[in-house]
Subunit: 739 residues, 2 copies
């Protein structure tokens, strides 16, 4: 029952999964690509002294500044969402106008191929800009950013993910890719943007801009920063969907460690401010400042409370299986596409060209579909078509296929939900579903910043409405109008692709603004998830796995009780003495084969555990040459303070950059003041679920395993826990390819 | 900075708070009234063996049965809510009809005093029934039950709080007290009812009914039961307010331990089912099965999205201070009233008489106000007045004061929110606010089951609307109609009294069904809480404190870093050897002066910690006479199984009921199999916040403090942590009166 499995390693290539029946070992070097966050405060003497010096008033001020930071995060995230929305609207408006004029010019006289070329060129140009900045300047800004933020909140620090440059590229990139007519949404990137804003604002400085505002210095550690990033992600969700509660739940679902009441409250505050800011500025932009009707980038419009029938709620579950199946198909296709991309399209210029190709193909396919469609609808059925295209329809009619393409996708979703029965021809919907499905699948993973929420909703709404229209064959349609089936379809498709459950339900409830739809939505999301999980993982999980991220899930796999800390831990452990020779420290830190980040500190003879010290702390100590001998000789020497550690945070220099002379190597370093004197420990016999729970609940990075005399026997790290997961054959242990 | 404080002890009497500058000790006997829940699984050999035997399929079945239980909890909670609602509507309808007829009969001819007497007698009769069942049969069913459920979720097991009898008395009691016209709501008791349902359903048996259905045996332990009780409480909130997300957040805010994704999802499921069940059955009852427009017992009705002005949102904050002030006044008055009640009204018959007195006074006051009011309104202004009373108004008009009293309070709240400007006379609102405020304050704490949510909302809505009406004096009214000010006032008043923050905001957002009101509601709740906290604690906290419950808050007091485990822990600790003499165990367990519940197990020489065993486990062992000598003599003897512990759960017999002969006292008991071999431990130097975090995050009951050689030096329990709290003079240590 205990199997090893080779998994693909992102940076090298793909190894076909094989099974072995041996114990895994030495299989963690691939994880070395990432560093990890430590949500357990290092409560060393310096920290305790600072805390003890602080008065009650000091704590109050700190609390207030946390609120101020959260307010700022919400405000800035809302502003960014607003900026993206307005820019996209302007650019797409311009594009649709030009193309529409052009098509109308050539409709009668022929020569529509010129219109097609114009359209394709315009799209490709936008996408080219977006792809170039992503591929050449900041590849991490590509995609929706949700997998990266999930990893960050889980405790994995993907390099460059919360930098200012990433934010700028992300914002510009998403504007370009949406304006370029790609089958993408602008909602996913908002979550990443919010997180970057949070990481920046809360630190009171920008390393990229080389500016330190000397504020919020207290927040310069992983614990506090993670809290703010959670708030930022929540603010992003909130701005994207007008769903502040959904945002909070998203953050909690992902961060998922100890539930802290005040923190949750602050996250909620950031979310509220974010949606309100967006709402206010968009209302001002729409010249209707009092109305406040744009709580999010996408609004589903209001559904009536009338669910009409209990049976409708029950039939909703039937929307789950197709959603799950289509979602699994989407994910499987995207998985293979991603592997293909990793193998063959890894050079930036190729990535840009692929993105441009997709843009051109999207335009061509849309054009062909519009051209061959004869789904004409009278103009007065639907109000608010911004760019109705007549093409070959009679006067007073418009091409309904064209509207689905010549429209912001958010508007198309709304139309599918709310247009009265009869607005869409079944064939239009069917063809649209299929085309959009494949285009969306091809698009996700391109080197552009873009989200998958809106395409999923759109695909789902289309087939949901199609089902709703087809239902007159059965006596079912009396239960609800097609728009409600479109909503259920959209939820099913989105659930089938991303597999988020709790937060997604709440987001959708808030977007529909009606709690009555809660149960149907929840049921459809659950069935979609269950059906989808049977075939393939969620899209984000696939992408996280493809990057070999050691992701620690919220619970230990169910059948892991027979594993104990002894089997899970890494051993032997590199330990330091309380007073250690500088040469030993430098050599150990420089040893690239181990690359440990936390070291137990022991008092020798017998070697009992007395603390835990981090690589980053040792590096700061070495940099400031805090040696026992020097301290004795220069009495006036400034004592090292917490500030020195904070100034170096989060980009601690590598050990190679620190020069230690041969004389200094013989000096001694006293770690007592700097180590965490009370690290969490477990005995060797502790079961894996227990270790897992402690690790997750406290957000640990290192957990020391001790024997019954408090001697160090091993160290459990994230890598050790991430190895175990539940496969189809029971518990599996991952072994990473060493190719 | 370290002060001791005598606090009042519920069972004895009141000691005036005094301050001493000594270290507290021996101050925990009062806590012995309560037992505590252990959310840390005792992972002993029996448990691990069972888990290891279980297949993957077994875990899946277990997971499915958890879902089934949650569904059942939601369904039954919804049904109970529905039953209460229908019963109340029928009874009050009957009462109003009789009284109205009577008043109309005597209006012209005089003799209205007969009507008054009729009204008062009717009210008193209803209340008498409600008070008798509460005071004589199940006193714990009195009040809203929210403080009790808060305690339960926090880990304090208040006796009899989740029994079937409590539920029956609660349901009957709330129907009587609402029908008796007391100034109470039926929403708070729903939370308690949901929790009892959950505790009952999840255990698959009823001890009261002496029926064991032999199902869900796996769930018979504190960890699982607490999870289900959280779901039940959430389902209760959900049914009461139609706020499933608010319910989830309420549970999380109170249970507040490790955030578990699947658990949250199940809680959400229970909430959804609950609100849907209520909605469906109430719709059927209202002969409108398709509409589904009653998601909760109270609906605020739908507010338009039009917040009209940014300035309105900002002015909302101004609603906070009056709410906070009035709330603090309410709480302070109720505090002194409660102390008065503890001192002088502790006999059941006195309690019943007080309840009847309040009922009669409520009727009289209402009658007087209606009688002297001349606030007549034309009948057609408002639709849906069920019992318009003409009294001395002209034909075609009705007495607007009477409607506020002759109505279910939920309807009055809705009217205050939604009736068009001009429906209420300012004087009516003013007088109503004052009367209702004092009546509500007097009523809360009576020996009847009743909640404080609706009265709070009603008081707040009244003064909120009053402010809204008075605003024409200033140029403010253009920003919103009085109904919106009523909403803000209601939120402020409720927030000022109960001081819940996060969950209350979400509950109110869901009740209004409009996310645009999120920010104003949040701001007003926050300011109300800040202002209120300055003067007096929240109502529930006061009542929890009055009962001397060792409540562990979600975070350690901010200035507690200078305290370490060494100072906090209880020591010396009573330990057992791995193989212990039965006599020693019996003597220690019988020692009433210590009354410990968890005992470290040590291997002697040197005495290293090797496990932790609970009183309940020892009692089961003694009961089954699991002695080493007996095991040797009778080889066929059945091995003790986990089932034996589950069968005894949760009402383990007291040690006095177990008879151990003099011979048996000399036997030995081997604890190895039954103790938890890997208890969580901390070193002596661990700071209080770190201990606190570990304790809260894992839901511990005992935390062993060890020295650097893993020898037991102390034990931290809930009592040790609950002693420290943040007072106005910094950190304070509670010392309980020994009177």
């Amino acid at each position: 029952t205990h199997q090893c499995k080779y998994v693909i390693s992102w940076s090298i290539g793909i190894t076909k999964p094989t099974y072995r029946n041996t114990k895994c070992s030495q299989c963690d070097w691939i994880f070395a690509l990432y560093t990890f966050l430590d949500y357990d405060n290092s409560e060393n003497q310096l920290f305790l002294e600072e805390e003890r010096r602080m008065s009650y008033l000091g704590f109050r001020c700190l609390e207030i500044s946390r609120w101020v930071v959260c307010g700022l995060i919400g405000f800035l995230t809302g502003l960014i969402a607003c900026f993206i929305d307005i820019m996209v609207e302007q650019l797409t408006g311009l594009k649709y106008y030009v193309v529409k004029e052009n098509i109308e010019k050539f409709t009668a006289g022929g020569g529509l191929s010129i219109s097609l070329i114009l359209w394709a060129v315009l799209n490709s140009a936008f996408v080219m800009v977006g792809a170039i900045i992503v591929a050449f300047f900041e590849p991490i800004a590509g995609g929706s950013g949700i997998p990266q933020i999930k990893c960050y909140l889980n405790g994995v620090k993907i390099p460059r993910v919360v930098r200012l440059k990433t934010l700028l590229v992300k914002v510009a990139g998403v504007i370009c890719s949406v304006a370029g007519g790609l089958v993408v949404g602008k909602e996913g990137p908002m979550i990443h943007s919010g997180a970057v804003v949070a990481a920046g604002v809360s630190q009171g400085r920008s390393t990229s801009l080389k500016r330190d505002f000397k504020i919020f210095e207290y927040f310069r550690r992983d614990t506090e920063k993670r809290d703010f990033v959670s708030a930022g992600a929540a603010a992003g969700v909130s701005a994207a969907f007008g769903a502040p509660v959904g945002g909070v739940l998203f953050s909690l679902e992902e961060a998922a460690s100890y539930w802290n009441q005040m923190l949750t409250w602050r996250i909620f505050f950031a979310s509220m401010i974010s949606t309100f800011t967006l709402n206010f500025f968009l209302s001002v932009y729409n010249k209707n400042p009092g109305e406040l009707s744009n709580p999010g980038l996408i609004n589903f419009g209001s559904f009536d409370r009338n669910v009409r029938s209990f049976v409708f709620v029950l039939t909703c579950e039937c929307g789950g299986p197709p959603g799950g199946l289509l979602g699994a198909l989407f994910n499987a296709l995207n998985y293979w596409l991603t592997i293909f991309r990793i193998r063959y399209i890894h050079r930036p210029c190729l990535q840009v060209m692929e993105a441009m190709l997709v843009a051109a193909v999207t335009a061509t396919v849309s054009f062909i579909m519009i051209y061959f469609s004869n789904a004409c609808q009278p103009l007065d059925v639907v109000q608010g078509e911004d760019y109705p295209l007549q093409l070959y329809c009679d006067d007073g009619e418009y091409n309904s296929m064209a509207t689905t393409f010549f429209n912001r996708p958010e508007k198309s979703v709304q139309n599918l939900f709310h247009n009265p029965p009869g607005s869409y021809h079944p064939l239009t919907l069917g063809v649209f579903t299929i085309t959009y499905f494949f285009l969306a699948c091809w698009t996700y993973g391109l080197a552009v910043s873009a989200g998958v929420f809106i395409p999923s909703l759109l695909i789902g709404a289309a087939w949901g409405r199609l089902i709703g229209i087809m239902l007159p064959v059965f006596p079912l349609q009396i239960w609800a109008d097609p728009g409600k089936y479109a909503l259920i379809g959209a939820a099913a498709q989105l659930g089938g692709i991303v597999r988020m459950t709790l937060s997604l339900t709440v987001i959708l409830i808030e977007a529909t603004g009606n709690v009555t739809y809660g149960l149907p939505l929840m049921l459809v999301l659950m069935t979609a998830k269950i059906v989808g999980d049977y075939f393939e993982e969620g899209l984000y999980d696939i992408h996280i796995k493809l990057q070999s991220v050691p992701f620690v899930h919220s619970e230990a796999p169910p059948t892991s009780h027979w594993l104990t800390a002894r089997e899970v831990m890494s051993s032997p452990v590199t330990s330091f003495n309380r007073v250690e020779r500088v040469g030993t420290i430098v050599d150990l830190l420089s040893n690239t084969s181990t690359n440990h980040n936390g070291f137990p500190v022991v008092v020798s003879n017998p070697a009992k555990l007395c603390g835990l010290i981090l690589r980053s702390q040792l590096i700061v100590l070495l940099k400031h040459k805090v040696f026992v001998e020097l301290a004795r000789s220069k009495l006036t020497r400034r004592k090292l303070q917490l500030k020195d550690f904070r100034d170096a945070y989060p980009r601690f220099p590598p050990i190679q950059s620190i020069h230690v002379s041969q004389d200094e190597r013989e000096c001694m370093m006293d770690l007592t003041e700097f180590m965490n004197p009370t690290p969490y420990t477990v005995p060797q016999e502790t079961s894996l679920p227990r270790v897992y729970k402690l690790f997750r609940a406290l957000g640990l990075r290192h957990l020391v395993v001790v024997d019954d005399s408090n001697r160090v026997v091993g160290l459990v790290t994230r890598k050790d826990l991430a190895r175990y997961h539940l496969g189809k054959h029971g518990l599996e242990e991952l072994q990473l390819a060493q190719t």
